[in-house]
Structure formats: C-alpha cells, structure tokens
C-alpha cells in the first residue's frame, strides 16, 4: 500500500474540445471562473492576453490554439486553471474542470504515437483509468515559452 501511494500522483482532469487532459496538482494554484481578458499586442496567437488575479497580472494561454484543436464556445463551465512552475504563473483556459484523480505510475503510458505535433512535446504520457485515456500535460514545457517581438 505504502509503495502504491509513493508512486501515485494526483491530477486535475479537465476537458478541452471533448478530450480529457490532466495537470499535476502540485503545479495547480487555483481554478478561476472566466474573467475579461486584456489582449496583449505582439504576442503569439495562443496567448489570449492577461487577467487581474487578485492584483497580479497573469498571462492566459489558449491550449486549443497552441495544440491546433477545434475551438469551443465559452460556456458556464469554462474555467481558467492557474498553474505555477518555478516563478512563472500562467492561466490556461479549459472547457470544463471535472475532477481530481489518482493515477498510479504504472497506469501512465508513454505517448510517442500521438499524431498532433504541437501536443507531443508537451505531454508527459497518457493515463489509463477505467477505460478512460487522459492526456497528462507537462507544465514545465507548457510555460517554457519566451515571447519576444
């Protein structure tokens, strides 16, 4: 049992254009409802802009744009997941946040076979839980972009 706990990670599961994705809960700060986003000029298209998060300016990323997925409409369920890696804070727009699940290391499979090119390098692996396949994202890679004119 103890060993199982050691190898188990917790993931926040969310939906993005009808697919399920997971983020390591250690890196997730908060989950916010949608707020107005201020566009920032001269940034890549996947940077939607910045928001005011209780006095902090936080950039917001649209993963559908980044991974080349089908865009979805904003609904009541749309959320912004605020992640933090080292000292970089960033928000990710998702269609819906579902749950927090435990995934054992053994349940994670490497995903070299993924077809979407933009996605591949940002993925830790695929977590298989009860017939579901959850794409686990690598936050370090996600935030590791530099925006220059």
């Amino acid at each position: 049992m103890a060993e199982a706990v050691l190898n188990t990670m917790q993931f926040v599961v969310f939906v993005l254009s009808d697919e399920e994705y997971g983020l390591d809960i250690q890196m997730v700060n908060t989950i916010e409802k949608m707020v107005p986003i201020t566009r920032v000029p001269k940034t890549p298209s996947f940077i939607k802009g910045v928001i005011n998060l209780r006095g902090d300016i936080v950039p917001i990323m649209d993963l559908t744009e980044r991974f080349g997925l089908t865009k979805t409409e904003e609904t009541e369920e749309t959320r912004i997941i605020i992640v933090k890696f080292e000292d970089i804070q960033m928000g990710i727009i998702v269609d819906e946040v579902k749950e927090v699940i435990y995934i054992n290391e053994e349940q994670i499979e490497s995903t070299t076979s993924l077809t979407k090119e933009g996605l591949m390098e940002n993925v830790l692996g695929a977590g298989k839980v009860d017939n579901r396949v959850i794409t686990l994202l690598n936050i370090e890679k996600l935030v590791n972009i530099s925006v220059k004119e």
Partner: protein, 691 residues
C-alpha cells in the same frame, strides 16, 4: 556547528563594517591626530576579526589580526599615519572585501592569502622603532619646556621616583599631558590584615578604571593577581579627574590603609627609558579648567561621531514590501471603484466614508513609499574612497564635495544608480579635470573640484556631477563624429551644442586620445544613458569650455505609482504616463499630411510625426466617424510625436505592475495596471513607440 544560518548576517554586517572602515580611514588620513576615529577603526576591525573567526574564515581573521596590530601601534603612537600606511590599510580593506565577495558567491573565503599585504603590514610594524626614536627626540624638547613651565606655575615640590617607564608609557604620558589630562602615580597601601589582597587590588583597579586608564602598575598586574606583592602597589593612571577625588574614593574602599597620589610630569631624561617624574599635590585651577574644556570638546566630537553611526539601516525583505505594495494597490482599486458608485448613491454618510477611505489609502501609500525609500547616502558613501584611488592613479589632486546625501530615492533606483554615477565621476576625474601642469598654466587652483549633488525637485530627484575642469571640447567631438561616420561634414556645421553632446552618448565614442585604465574606452556614457533611461530618468549635459562640465541626472522619485492618461483605441484601453505627454490636440483629418511616407501634422510650425497607435498595436480599426481626430502629443527626449487615439478617458493614478517574465520581451508595452473595474489596461512605452 552549522554556521550557514549566520552567513547572511555575517555578509551584511561585514559589508557594513568595511564601508564604515573605508569612511573612517579616509577621515583619519585627513586628521591623523583624531583619536576617536582611530578608536572607531580599531573597534570595527576588531569586530570584523571576531566575526570572521567565529565563522571559521581564518585567512580573513589573520589579515584583520595583522591589520589590528598596525592599528594598535598607531593607537599607541608608536607609528604615525602617513599615505603609505593608509594605502596599505586600504589594500587590506579591498582584500577583506574580496574575501567577503568570495563568501557571497561560494560560501567560503577562497585561497588567496594576500601575503604581500601582510608583509607590508609587518614591515610597517618593524619600521616603527626607527620612527619612534626620531619622534621621541623631537618631542622631548617640547616636554621639557612644558614641564618647566608647569613646575613653576604650581611651585610644587619635586619628588624623583625611580619608577621605570618604557617607550610606550612614555609616549602615553606625553600624549596625556598634551591633551591636558592629569597623570597620577598612585601608591596604595593595603591593611596588613588583608586576606584577599588580589581581590582588594582588583576592586581598586576597577575603581580607577572607571575614571581613567591605568597605563602601568608596579608590580605587574599578573603578579598582583597572583598576590605576588607585599601590602603596597603603585599604578600610573591617566584621568581627567583631580587627585583629591581619587584619594577620597580609594580611601573609601575597606582595608586600604593609605593612598599616596602624586602628579607626574614628563621631563626630558638622559635615558629615555627612565623618566623622572614631578609631583604636584594640588592641581592649579587653570589646569583643571583647561582640561575640562578639552574633555568637553572631546565629548562633542564623540557625540557627532555617534550621530553618524545612528543612521542604522533597517533591513526589510523586498518581497515583503512588494506584498505591502500589492495591498495598497488593491486599496486604490477599491477606492476607484467606490468613486464610480457615487452617482447612484448620493448619501452623506457614504461620502464621508469615501473621504476617510481616501485619507487612509493616501497615508498607507505614503507609509509604504517611505519604507521603500533609501537615502542616496548608501550609494554616495563609497565615492570618496573611489575618488581617492582614482586621483592617486591619475596623479591629480581632486576634492570631492558631496551634498544632499539624505535625499531619498526608491530602493530599486538606488540599487541601479551606483554604476552610472561611478562612470560619471571617473569621467570627470579623467577627462574633465586637467593635469596639474595644465591647471597651473590656466591659473586654476591645483586641486580640481568635483561636486556631487543630490536634491529633490518636485516628483524628481536630481543628481548632478560637476567638475571645474576643461569642459567638453565640442569641436573635437564634432570631428570625431565625422570621423566615425555618424554625420557628414556639411550637416555637422548646423549642429547645436546639444546635438554635439548627444554624440558622447553614442556607443563606443570617446574623445580621450589615450585609453587609460579608467576611461577612454568609450563604453561609459552610452551605458550611463541607457541605464538612466531604463530607470525612467534622463541625462543632460551642461558644459563650458575651460570652466568645466556638469552632468545632470533626473530620476523619478518612485517607479511604482504614476499619474497616467487613459486612452481608448477601438474598445481597448491603454495608459500613457502623464509625464511624457506634452499636450492633447484635436485635428481635422485633412490636416494630416504625408512627408516621405510619414504622416505628420504642423503644430505651431513644428513638424510632428503622427503615429497611428492602433496599427502599431494590431488593434482592429474602429469605425470612428468623428470629424476631429484626437492626437496626444508626447515627447521623447526633446522630440515630439503625435499619437492618434480614438478617445480620451481621463487622468488616473495607476499602479504599475510588471507583465511577468513570460511577456517581458514586448517592447511597446511598459507594464500593466488594474483599472477601477478590475480589468487590466496596458501601459504604453512611449520611448519605443515614438519616432
């Protein structure tokens, strides 16, 4: 024992102490006779040694120890302050600073032993005997005269004692007499029934030390401690008090049978080692008064020294301050939000609350700002030392006058302003101040003056670096600019003085023919300018051939909260810092003309280029059907540009926030701020948008 938790404190304090030593040493060089300063240096050096020893930095402790030896000799008047000595001491400080820096980067003191410096210190100590002898000869004449004089005045009996004095004591007594202090020889006779002689002696020593300094005892202190004495011992005490009060106080101690006090005057003696002392039972009134006066003065200087030291810094974690700042900014946001509600609720109470709230936020703002403010002294402090070194290496005599050290600036500015100022000071010393021969030729005093001034001017702090040197040779600069291809010959003819000076701030531009260690590589002024501009400030130059030049730096008091004009472009809101805005005008669309593919307008006969901000920022074009266009005229340096906007929203006090690491690379945006409705507005970087 784990010392790492003390490491930070050690580093901070060592730096502080070294800075203090630098300053004191400079003062000592100016007033070699200043005993309080010498004591202060000694004390600080001793503390440093102790700290280094505790932390296990043995090399550092060794160096401070050797330094302390020299200081000790200095204090005992065995050696004299001279430039050579001060040089070596400064080298010691540099070495110690290197040790500390090594500790900062690596956590250990490194392997450098600075054996040369240690050798230098030893050499000074070894030489002292020779110097000593010479000095004693000189001194003895004076002493003789004085002793005779005083002997006559007092008309007192002379008792010759065969009390032996060595060099050191001899000198101390000389010095004490010079300072009009009393020197007593006190013979204490203890009761024959006294059991704990050493304890009794200890009490007596303590009593004496409360009012003076014991410079000698017979038998030696160690022997007294071991009870290796009969029932009587003799001490020599330097004190400002008179004999009677000592007599009284000592007699009050139990088991003391007798106290014989005699005043010692130093006489010339054939053998320096043996001094005949004169005795004076009662001090003359005049003598007393004089010495009192002297002591008062002494105390005064002491007090003023203390004042300098009380400027202790409170170390505040800058992160904590940022949190505080954040809170304040939120308060300001709420304030703005409440103001917006005003129209709906026009209740008297409500207005009062708003007023109160506003007062609180203003106070809080001020308080936080003050915490962030640091006197510029912390930067200026290191300049006298630096300029001393520079002037010596250039072989020029330079006097640095500083004023306005207490002018306060935001911490972030303070941290950055040091390097640019060093550049400017070195520039003045190297390029500005002429060589000695040249100065004499043109009839200027030998010593060049550099004035470093800081003062507050409205919302700005102004720092001036002024020298009385030769000024900037405009023709030479112009010629160089042509040589370098910055400008062609014909165009150069029409340049104004300001235009020419601007060349100095171009990268790799130096007018000095010879490249020296200090400057002349031309990497100075452009760096200065860039740095100051990133701090939101600007540099101006004032120069007059033959009279000197003046560099004027203007810096904003703070970088955190500014006044801004909010403008609207299509639906987006942007903030423009108010201090960059010259004026706002309305123009008809047909007033905008094309010149070389650049849109311009004529503003009172000045050509002002028009920039369609919306296009620069990729804002979708608006269907603005206004008959008049709104142009915000901004200034970048002296040049004007007109920013075309759709709408003006108004003037607001905004809190500048960084866009974060991720978006830091966007040039056109200087930062972001949070508006009253909680939304984010971007702050435009006028310098990069303007033409």
């Amino acid at each position: 024992m784990d010392m790492s938790q003390y490491l930070e404190i050690f580093i901070e304090e060592s730096k502080e102490h070294l800075q203090g030593l630098n300053q004191s040493l400079l003062q000592l060089e100016k007033n070699p006779q200043d005993v309080p300063i010498l004591n202060e240096i000694f004390r600080v050096a001793h503390t440093l040694k102790g700290m280094a020893g505790t932390m296990g930095f043995n090399k550092m402790a060794k160096l401070t120890h050797d330094m302390e030896n020299v200081l000790h000799a200095l204090r005992n008047n065995e050696i004299k302050v001279n430039t050579n000595l001060v040089d070596i001491l400064f080298k010691c400080l540099d070495a110690l600073e290197n040790y500390v820096n090594e500790v900062v980067t690596k956590g250990a003191e490194g392997n450098e032993e600075y054996s040369e410096i240690i050798k230098g210190l030893d050499a000074i100590l070894n030489k002292k005997d020779a110097i000593d002898a010479a000095k004693d000869v000189a001194k003895s004449d004076v002493v003789e005269n004085m002793a005779n004089e005083q002997g006559e005045k007092a008309g007192i009996q002379h008792i010759t004692s065969n009390f032996k004095m060595n060099h050191y004591e001899h000198n101390l007594i000389n010095k004490a007499v010079d300072m009009n202090l009393n020197v007593f020889k006190i013979v204490v006779v203890l009761n024959k029934g006294c059991v704990l002689k050493s304890a009794r002696a200890f009490i007596i020593f303590q009593t004496l030390e409360r009012h003076g300094e014991i410079i000698k005892s017979e038998p030696r202190v160690e022997d007294i401690e071991d009870e290796k004495f009969d029932f009587e011992f003799t001490v020599v005490v330097i004190s400002k008090r008179d004999a009677e009060s000592f007599q009284k106080e000592l007699m009050a101690i139990s088991e003391v049978d007798d106290v014989i006090i005699s005043t010692i005057h130093v006489n010339e003696s054939e053998d320096i080692d043996e001094i005949k002392s004169e005795v004076q039972e009662v001090s003359t009134e005049a003598h007393q008064e004089e010495s009192n006066h002297d002591i008062e003065e002494h105390q005064k200087t002491q007090v003023s020294k203390n004042n300098i030291k009380t400027g202790k810094t409170v170390r505040v974690d800058i992160d904590r301050l940022d949190v505080l700042m954040n809170l304040v900014s939120e308060l300001i946001i709420i304030k703005t939000r409440l103001e917006g509600l005003d129209e709906i609720e026009r209740n008297q109470n409500y207005n009062e609350v708003i007023e109160y709230f506003e007062r609180v936020t203003t106070n809080l703002h001020d308080a936080v700002m003050k915490v962030r403010m640091v006197p510029i002294e912390t930067v200026f402090n290191r300049f006298p030392r630096m300029l001393r070194d520079v002037s010596r290496s250039l072989n020029k005599e330079i006097i640095l006058n500083m004023s306005g050290e207490d002018t306060e600036l935001d911490r972030t500015v303070i941290d950055e302003i040091g390097d640019p100022l060093i550049h400017l000071l070195r520039n003045s010393a190297d390029h500005g101040i002429e060589s000695l021969d040249k100065r004499r030729e043109v009839g200027k005093p030998d010593a060049g003056q550099i004035n470093l001034r800081a003062y507050q001017d409205g919302n700005n702090v102004v720092i001036e670096v002024e020298d009385d040197g030769k000024g900037i040779d405009l023709e030479k600069v112009k010629k160089k600019a042509i040589d370098r291809g910055f400008i062609n010959k014909d165009a150069a003819k029409n340049l104004s003085q300001k235009d020419i000076i601007d060349f100095l701030f171009k990268p790799s531009f130096s007018t000095s023919d010879a490249i020296t260690d200090l400057s002349g590589r031309g990497v100075g002024l452009d760096v200065v300018k860039t740095k100051i501009e990133t701090l939101g400030g600007m540099v101006e130059v004032d120069t007059e051939a033959g009279r000197g030049s003046k560099f004027i730096i203007r810096l904003p008091l703070t970088l955190a909260i500014i006044q801004a004009l909010l403008v609207q472009i299509n639906t987006e809101k942007y903030a423009l810092p108010l201090n960059t805005i010259r004026e706002i005008i309305k123009v008809k669309p047909e007033d905008i003309k094309q010149v070389q593919k650049q849109e311009i307008i004529l503003l009172r006969n000045t050509i002002v280029p028009i920039i369609r901000i919306g296009e620069c920022l990729d804002v979708p074009p608006s269907d603005n059907q206004n008959k008049l266009l709104t142009v915000v005229v901004v200034k970048k340096g002296e040049k004007l540009s007109g920013f075309l906007v759709d709408n003006l929203i108004g003037q607001h006090e905004i809190v500048i926030k960084s866009l974060g690491k991720l978006l830091a690379g966007i040039k056109t945006i200087a930062g972001a701020t949070i508006l009253g409705d909680g939304n984010v507005a971007l702050i435009l970087d006028v310098n990069s948008l303007a033409v």
